[in-house]
């Protein structure tokens, strides 16, 4: 596929934050690509710039204090950084959507699941509220939520953590995005629930042939979900490669430290 245009192309992206103690370079000259239907992991420790990179892709970094100081982002042929916030609203959820770590804070507690899901659908598609609700129910069914027509009437607090994250996935996928950005989607979940939610994300990603960026600090999660992985450290990409190969034979000293530090189950 070398001739094929990548779904996402990030070139020399830099993002700065103004803080009380000076300017911090959160993302420093970062370039990478994600192909159509490709799952790419971004790993790194807290503060390495992985979340800011993801937020910048959809212009979600609050300005101030954040500021994009350079670079280019091309997503599905669209020059993202040239768009204003009104234009971005058409792109978010439609071309690319995002899942966050904590579904309880990402969902609005005072609206029902159905209410929040139909809002997304009706922003991007010209359908009646009745039809939008039908789509929402179908989406919930597709992410294996039992009795979806009952669940749409519920409020977020009435669902378990795993169910809420499934709702987030359903909502993110409801307009058939080409790119899914998942920022620590299973970090807040228990390990058995994490396994189910990761399975669901993986299943949807392959079935829809959707590009995906999975951000996580858990190298095991990346290893099980992504073919290719990007390692970030202090705002820079220090290493990129095929997941298996990179974990087998890390080149950069930081990647080696990271891999040495991880305690994985011994047999």
């Amino acid at each position: 596929m070398p001739n094929e245009k990548p779904l996402l192309k990030v070139e020399h992206l830099s993002v700065e934050f103004t803080t009380d103690s000076g300017v911090v370079k959160a993302v420093d000259d970062v370039s990478f690509e994600v192909g159509a239907g490709e799952a790419v992991g971004i790993v790194g420790e807290s503060g390495s710039g992985k979340s800011v990179t993801a937020l910048t892709l959809l212009q979600l970094v609050p300005n101030p204090p954040g500021r994009i100081t350079g670079g280019r982002i091309e997503l599905d042929g669209i020059d993202i950084l040239s768009r204003n916030q009104a234009q971005m609203r058409r792109i978010r959820g439609d071309v690319a959507s995002m899942i966050f770590q904590e579904p309880m804070t990402a969902l609005n507690p005072v609206f029902t699941i159905g209410n929040q899901m139909t809002e997304v659908i009706r922003v991007h598609r010209k359908v009646s509220s009745k039809a939008a609700l039908d789509i929402a129910v179908q989406m919930l069914a597709s992410v294996n939520i039992p009795t979806p027509s009952e669940q749409v009437k519920k409020y977020p607090h009435q669902l378990s953590g795993g169910q809420r994250q499934r709702v987030m996935i359903a909502m993110a996928l409801s307009c058939d995005p080409k790119l899914l950005i998942a920022d620590e989607p299973t970090t807040a979940l228990d390990v058995t629930v994490q396994a189910q939610v990761l399975d669901e994300i993986h299943r949807q990603q392959t079935a829809r042939n959707m590009g995906m960026i999975l951000i996580t600090h858990d190298l095991g999660v990346v290893s099980e979900t992504c073919k290719r992985v990007i390692v970030m450290y202090q705002g820079k990409i220090v290493e990129v490669g095929e997941t298996r190969e990179l974990f087998r034979n890390p080149q950069h000293p930081y990647t080696r430290t990271l891999l040495d530090s991880v305690l994985s189950l011994r047999d």
């Binding site: 807290s46 058995t192 994490q194 290893s223 530090s261 991880v262 305690l263 189950l265």
Partner: protein, 264 residues
């Protein structure tokens, strides 16, 4: 047979569920339900389980920070279950706790010196200069510098804060420490350093640990024995290597299968 340092017999901690017109007790949530276990000297018992299974409540119950419903807690063979607050003071020196959140568990208005010295002040150990000397020693033991003593918690990184919490827990030379998700909030490289510190302290001072964590790999790494909790019950316990190699309970098997692994 030698008396274990800590022994728990049929411990039950129930939380009342209130409701109805008079806010009467309708039912009980069995957070810890008939748990028995023992921990030997210089041993680490790992306690794993998912959120809400009762592992933290068990830890707090053993320290008598949480009123229990029934059962017995023995420290060096002495029943401490029904001691009054005052009688408990004597035992508190020997049993300490390290918390998960190094941001929330240190008083932001106290300096590191005050935080680490507070247990020494409370128990009136030595005079002022002895205590200050002891603070310096504890900081050094925990890999911190003397010069950090007069700084405030917000000036430190998560790993350094956890070291301050450990220094404080060590101040009274305890024989037993409950580490409740003590490394869960830390990045892996920092996590490793803190685990190493805990292992060194165990070697050096012969401390026993109840190491509570949701992370099965970390628990495997640090524990001599492991217990698995599920809905308030201890469903399985055994020597670490054996339990991980050959889990008996279906829940333990499910838990171990669910952990994502690095494949190379």
């Amino acid at each position: 047979m030698e008396t274990p340092l800590i022994e728990i017999r049929n411990l039950k901690t129930y939380y009342p569920i209130r409701g109805g017109f008079f806010n009467t007790v309708q039912d009980h949530l069995k957070a810890v339900d008939d748990v028995s276990l023992s921990i030997g000297r210089q041993q680490t018992l790992g306690l794993v389980g998912e959120s809400g299974c009762g592992k933290s409540t068990l830890g707090r119950s053993i320290l008598r920070l949480q009123p229990i419903t029934s059962g017995q807690i023995l420290f060096e063979g002495n029943d401490i279950t029904h001691l009054s607050q005052q009688e408990m003071m004597r035992y508190r020196r020997n049993i300490q706790i390290i918390f998960q959140d190094p941001y929330g568990s240190l008083n932001p208005r106290m300096t590191v010196r005050q935080i680490v010295r507070e247990p020494l002040d409370t128990h009136r150990i030595g005079d002022r200069s002895d205590r200050d000397q002891e603070v310096y020693r504890l900081l050094e033991v925990c890999g911190l510098q003397r010069s950090m003593a007069d700084r405030y918690p917000h000036e430190f990184s998560g790993g350094q804060r956890q070291r301050v919490g450990i220094a404080r827990a060590l101040a009274l030379k305890p024989k037993f420490i409950v580490a409740d998700e003590a490394v869960s909030a830390l990045d892996v490289t920092v996590q490793n350093q803190i685990l190493k510190l805990i292992a060194d302290l165990q070697q050096e001072y012969g401390i026993s640990f109840l190491f509570i964590s949701h992370d099965l790999a970390v628990v495997q790494h640090v524990s001599h024995r492991v217990g698995v909790m599920y809905f308030g019950k201890l469903v399985e316990q055994g020597p670490t290597a054996e339990l991980y190699r050959n889990p008996q309970h279906p829940y333990t098997q499910k838990l171990l299968r669910a952990v994502p692994r690095i494949r190379v």
